[in-house]
């Protein structure tokens, strides 16, 4: 028994530790047991050992010493078991069982099998089970699915929910709302179905109840989710309450948690409206989103002077692309719901106590732009105490959560991004936080993101499409948002003539000034006065015109970011120090930019192919891994090659000359060889300015005044800080130099797959499609399950975070790669949904995936029952929404749907009608199996 005497805590109260870890063994002729590692050195030296029975104040261990002679061919097996979290009852049971070794052995075996089965059940529910001719790929898909679930969670019991838990969730949100709807909660069956519950909530006519109910997602098995380099992210999966019931919970960084839901949405499409609600209600009225999201609310960073990692600000682009992906899924599965949301006021906004400074202040110091407002923080905390976590949302003057429709929620981030649009450069990164990855975080301030602009184009196209069918309809918007939109539209149209060719630096500056001031005006208005509560109507047509204007500008900028080598810029740099001009500097090529532009929809099939070929020939390609770096590797300058101030700069500066003459080393120093260096304690221009301030009173005042800015400039030029991108240029692991960051490779894979299917849809020439497919599989070949363990440096069936320049793949399962690979796999199998209909389009599927010999496909049905199907050679099987699907090589395309309560349903094409598709989405066991014959 290993235990604490009490739980160590800092509060002045008792904390009993009533659980222990038990350890035991049998099957060995035991001579001695050790309960700690204290005697190990004696053992190594062959000294006699003492039997340990009571050890204190030592880390526990469990060693059994036994001697056994083995005859040739003899098998010896034994058990060594440790069991954590055992209470008094479990210990009593174990004590009895230890007297029945045979029974105990069986129980252990059964427990192992039970655990395996339980895990399989979870993976099965998320469609992780497949059977093809490539066992490694089946295993990798299992792992991808499992890791995706461990990040984003899995729904506890399909669409079934416990009204009691829903009540707890709503009470946590707003106890008054929960209280006034007690009859609603009582009226729900136990279990209730998610869709029925949402409909019933809507039927109460209380949009606040509906809002909260829609946000409810009964997820479990989700670990705390985010960048492990940050202190908050200690991973753990808590699965069971003390009474044995499952814990329903999720928590993670906002910018991370939605991505794994994207893959989960494939298997549970009817939860997508809930995911979107959760997403949108956590985004702010000034267009951004808080740091963290949990089942129980949202969270933001506050500045803590004791914590060097504390730092406030807003991350950028995920809000666009992750939201868009969820919207696309909803549009494909359930277009009516999406369109209904456009006019239904059931969405809220987060009241994060950050205040983005006015436009002129952004220009003055674009790295210091977000102010923490302690008054808002205090107000929010008061409201949370009084009512619940709804207190973190924006309230109206009547003290209710302010509600808007989906149209407004879609427009706000779009408008805010456009108000930071710099033509030909991208979206200006001015909220103190970087885009996709922290590695580039130093781009903040004078960097712009083409990546976001590429995704924005796709977003605009999507919006255009959904409003196209409703050009005459009216959409209600807050007057503040409508005013902002109209102002941006006027600006984009006013400067339209600039689009004829390349913009001058002066023209570019004029556009940003106008856009930036419009954004500034909007946010200052709502910071200062809140929303007036007045609404106005805009027609669908007016919105479409706005999207068109924005698309004109977007397309123009994308076009101008094509490099001569057919690649596209990812991030650019801008100089903001002139009052009238805005010059651009290009950065080196990055993989992220290629992924985003492929994904934008802007490129033709030919252009996409050209890009993919160029990429393979670029410096980003890493031959030993047959894959892609985030950016070309490069040799950093050696220590002695850096921090050397050229002699001519010294000659030019009276200040530096005087400091050197005075022997003042605060700033610069001359070495033994006569070369001059900055003091090694200086880290950036802020330090230089601080030292200048210190120098000024001590006799250097005039020189500091005259030459101070030059010295700052000299420092920044010497180290080229303008193009300092952050860790990406200085790390070697993770997203660093020479390291493959696997999530981005799989993003590329998914983008290549999309490109292929778009080409097929657009009826591109067969040869072109084939070449795109080849590109897809060429990228695919770089990913683990197509590699040997030697090359991969890891288990091929496991996803990993990154592969540094030296050494193998590292950190299993920790990145969003699992989501991309899951989606790619469903794409390889050709499962797509459009207009509510399931399509099977296995155009990418390769013949070698089909079985060459009969075998069994074990799966779990939607009722949780483990089943088997016999497969023949020439077949393969997988599940989709937990329905088993068998593909068979054949001479024609057809399929048969096997139903639970009706005759089987043959179809002449590889498509299910909307009704049958709905049965699949609903996961209610109506569809027992689908068998598809494929013309291949």
């Amino acid at each position: 028994m290993f235990r604490l005497s009490a739980i160590p805590i800092d509060r002045p109260e008792p904390a009993e530790a009533l659980r222990a870890t038990t350890a035991w063994s049998f099957g060995l002729k035991r001579q001695l047991t050790l309960l700690s590692s204290v005697q190990l050195d004696c053992f190594r030296q062959g000294l006699p050992l003492r039997y340990e029975t009571d050890v204190r104040a030592e880390r526990g261990a469990y060693f059994v010493q036994a001697a056994q002679n083995l005859r040739p061919g003899q098998v010896l097996d034994w058990l060594l078991v440790a069991n954590v979290n055992q209470g008094a009852s479990e210990v009593a049971s174990l004590n009895r069982l230890l007297r029945q070794p045979a029974r105990l052995r069986k129980l252990v075996q059964a427990e192992i099998e039970h655990g395996t089965r339980e895990l399989e059940r979870i993976v099965a529910a998320a469609d992780g089970l497949q059977k093809t001719a490539r066992p490694l790929s089946n295993a990798r898909h299992y792992a991808n699915t499992l890791f995706n679930v461990m990040r984003g969670g899995i729904f506890n019991d399909g669409y079934k929910l416990d009204p009691q838990d829903l009540l707890a969730f709503v009470t946590n949100g707003d106890k008054e709302i929960a209280a006034r709807h007690s009859s609603f909660f009582r009226s729900l069956p136990k279990p209730a179905l998610y869709g029925d519950m949402a409909a019933a909530a809507a039927a109460t006519g209380d949009p606040q109840l509906e809002r909260l109910c829609r946000e409810y997602l009964p997820l479990t098995f989700s670990r705390r989710h985010g960048d492990p380099s940050r202190p908050w992210n200690r991973f753990s999966i808590t699965t069971r309450n003390p009474d044995g019931t499952r814990i329903l919970n999720y928590e993670g960084n906002w910018r991370d948690i939605f991505q794994n839901w994207e893959a989960l949405a494939v298997s549970f499409p009817d939860y997508v409206p809930g995911m979107i609600s959760r997403f949108l209600n956590a985004s702010t009225a000034d267009g951004y989103n808080p740091y963290r999201i949990t089942r129980n609310g949202i969270d933001w960073e506050v500045v803590d002077p004791h914590d060097p990692w504390s730092c406030i600000g807003y991350w950028g682009d995920h809000q666009i692309i992750y939201l868009l992906k969820l919207l696309e899924i909803l549009e494909h599965h359930n277009p009516a719901t999406l369109r209904g949301f456009l006019t239904r006021e059931i969405f809220a906004s987060a009241n994060v106590p950050y205040r983005i400074k006015p436009y002129d202040a952004l220009l003055a110091n674009p790295k210091d732009t977000v102010v923490f407002d302690p008054q808002v923080e205090e107000l929010v905390q008061q409201r949370v105490r009084a009512r619940g976590v709804d207190g973190k949302l924006i309230w109206d003057k009547q003290g209710n959560v302010r509600l808007v429709n989906l149209t407004e929620k879609l427009l706000v981030p779009l408008l805010v991004k456009l108000s930071n649009f710099i033509p030909e450069a991208g979206i200006w990164l001015n909220t103190q936080r970087p885009e996709w990855n922290d590695a580039n975080n130093a781009l903040v301030g004078n960097g712009t993101s083409m990546v976001t602009l590429y995704y924005l184009r796709r977003y605009l196209m999507f919006c255009r499409e959904i409003f196209r069918a409703q050009a005459d309809a009216k959409f209600s918007l807050s007057v503040e948002v409508a005013g902002f939109l109209n102002e941006l539209k006027r600006i984009l149209q006013r400067h339209r003539s600039f689009l004829a060719g390349a913009l001058s630096d002066r023209q570019r500056r004029r556009v940003l000034d106008d856009l930036g001031r419009a954004g500034s005006h909007y946010r200052l208005r709502i910071y200062k006065h809140g929303f007036s509560g007045r609404k106005t109507q805009l027609s669908g047509q007016a919105l479409i015109e706005f999207f068109d204007s924005a698309l004109e500008w977007t397309n123009h900028s994308i076009h101008s970011n094509r490099r001569p080598d057919a690649l596209y810029h990812a991030y650019n740099l801008v100089r903001l120090d002139s009052k009238t001009e805005l010059p651009i500097r290009r950065l080196y090529e990055m993989l992220e930019g290629q992924v985003a532009v492929l994904s934008s929809g802007h490129l033709s099939a030919e252009e996409s192919l050209e890009l993919l070929v160029a990429l393979k020939h670029s410096a980003m390609y890493r031959a030993d891994q047959h894959s892609y770096l985030l950016y070309p590797n490069r040799q950093l300058p050696r220590f002695v090659e850096r921090n050397n101030i050229p002699a001519k700069e010294i000659r030019r500066s009276a200040l530096l000359r005087k400091l050197l003459a005075d022997g003042n080393r605060q700033f610069v120093e001359r070495d033994i060889a006569g070369r001059v260096h900055f003091n090694a304690a200086v880290t950036n221009a802020r330090d230089i300015r601080r030292i200048l301030d210190q120098l000024a009173p001590s006799g250097y005042a005039n020189l500091v005044k005259r030459e101070g800015p030059d010295v700052v400039d000299l420092f920044e030029r010497l180290f080229d800080h303008e193009s300092f991108t952050g860790r990406s240029g200085t790390f070697f692991g993770y997203e660093g130099l020479g390291s493959i960051y696997w999530h981005m490779v799989s993003k590329l894979l998914l983008a290549a797959q999309e490109t292929f299917f778009h080409a097929v849809e657009a009826r591109a020439p067969k040869r072109l499609c084939q070449r795109l497919a080849d590109c897809y599989y060429d990228i695919r070949a770089g990913i683990g399950d197509y590699k040997t363990p030697q090359t991969y440096g890891g288990f091929p069936m496991d996803p990993y975070s990154h592969t540094p320049a030296q050494g193998g793949a590292r950190q299993p399962g920790l990145t969003g790669q699992v989501k991309e690979d899951f989606l790619c796999r469903m794409g390889e199998l050709g499962v797509f949904v459009k207009n509510g209909e399931v399509h099977f389009r296995p155009e990418l599927l390769r013949p070698e995936e089909f079985l060459t010999a009969p075998t069994d496909f074990a799966y779990v049905d939607t009722a949780g029952i483990k089943r088997r199907l016999r497969l023949k050679a020439g077949e393969l099987a997988f599940t989709y929404c937990q329905v088993p699907i068998i593909y068979r090589r054949s001479r024609e395309n057809s399929l048969v749907v096997f139903l639970a309560k009706a005759a089987k349903l043959p179809c002449q094409e590889l498509r299910l009608d909307a009704d049958t598709s709905r049965l699949i989405f609903e996961r209610a066991g109506q569809v027992v199996r689908i068998e598809a014959s494929l013309d291949s």
Copy 2:
């Protein structure tokens, strides 16, 4: 060269890493160099190695491979050097030097010597150099002094200070005050002397300037200071600014930082007024003190839901004893200054945003008593931003820091402690934090501290003494404080008749009710309305009468806490659940109680001896270490012996019976053998109450209502939570079971020494004094330098934190033991100050300390110059205020003072007059040496 490409930070800005670690070697016939550990396994297996020249993304290492044949008797030596924080200039120098190996080798040797000398200089300034016949004790004293300095710091340059740094300090406090006194700062010489500076600040007539200037302490070489189990306490000593100047800084837990200053004060007595100012200005008007103190201000904990260690509250007793020790030192060295402070309004109070609840709320839940007031926090932060860290102090209505005299600052903590006085029990621990050590933190709420009461007695005696000479003088007090004092005095006098014998539980409750309500009234008044600003006058006589009343009660309680075995109780338990009675329960014996009662001055020499003898025979004595545990060791119950609910309790409880019958395991469960246990997830009564709340709605409402409190009671009885003391009863290392905590042993040593000298002073019988001296040396024999390494389990000349039941001494240098041992050592040498006069009373000094052969005593004089004195057999030497003092065995007592600018001064007794003593305190080199002949 080992370096980072950049400093990893989370802010979006560049951070150059312009420093590297250089590593190099010579003296070896180098075959190969490795820069990482990557190839070590190859080396171990005898495989060929590659020379490493450029390694990335690996932890650095430096290995040199060389083969060398040695002839018998041949000596081979070489250098392997690593040097951190090297900038470009240093690297350039090294590159040149590497071509001159002989010179480089000399430089390395010189650098090592220089470092040793510098460290010696620091230790010498704090009187760490001694030369006696016991080298181990000399070394231990050196180590004690060094560790004391590394905790509390050392004054950078004696009493000299840089006006520029003072200005920085004052500006940090209040920039307006700094600005309006710019001429004051300009007028100071560079360097200025601390005493002159303080006088000049007083002469400006601005008490705010004086307050800030007096608080200035130019300390350096101090590490962050506090309990290493708390996350904040990452230790580091920052010594130099980038420009090479020394960093003047200190920071630590309030309850820790003052203790090491106590030892430092011996060597730098003229800084004591500053230490006291720092101490008092950081204490609050409701009688407590903030968590942390740094050169740049104070700091308190705020509740952070993400941090399980965050927890607010006030620690208790150190404020009394640590303050008292500093006051005693000041009184001995400079009584006039202390008396002057009593009427000078130059002290402030901290504005910590904690609010202690009203008395009735304390009774209702004595573990949850402190409320964080976010409005005060916000106000404070605003003021800090506007003016400086003075914003953390209480301001008057005019927007200035509110000033009071020392009398008020001395009274406030005393009154507050007395308002929590429970007769015969001690001071009620009701501010959410424990007393001396966290190990007993669970005593908070229903625990009372006799320890604090013992120290309070000494404090009262001290106060009585200093006001005795000023019985007719008037002292100005805030009307709120004067009212509080008068109310307490009335209460103490009203109930005086109770003191005739033991109090009844009912009488005890009446006293606490009256005292507690008075305290509650005082603090609620100042929380709600602040101080009115009105003052009133109290005579010295009135104060003395108050102290006398308090002493009557204190002495009565101390008397009643004597155990039959002559030991004294340290902490008691009280039951607060009755409305009219207040019964006491005694806890087991603790070492801390004996230390405090010895130190209280309450015991006669005979009683003290009786206690010390009893202690040696008690269960706290640990024979193998010849020393004392904090509390008797005991065998904790085994896992299966705990958490068993007796059958009769089950029979008695319908609720438990029903839960068991229903198979509801949220609460209790029956094991396979029929025994009933609490669910192992339960940790304390709070969990039980939470589960009861959850059970209530699900059919158990009536039973929960009727029997809920019984079940809570059952749980607390089963685990005896009433007497749960915290980690002390559950840890095995540190302050845990069976472990010696060395700081407390050395506190005992100091208390025993005080007892001896009091007995000598009181002219106790010679035999009694001798027995007390024997007790002293018996405790002393348990401390490291009198032990073998085998017994000690560590280096005898190093102090350690603790010695667990198994294993040797652990954690070198980390506790306050070094302070106690330093003070004890000065006491063994007999150096005392009284009425401003230095006395030499080597009554404890043992003959074996005197040298048996001639040797040199190397010391450093106050000017920083290393000097030597030749010592003869029969002599020993040490420094005091950096003046070398030679003791010589002789037939008579006399001494000679050697002066720098005057003839030597012979004295017929072992005492220096006040003028000569002053020369020593001033450390200005006037006294060159003292030679004392001792009649021994």
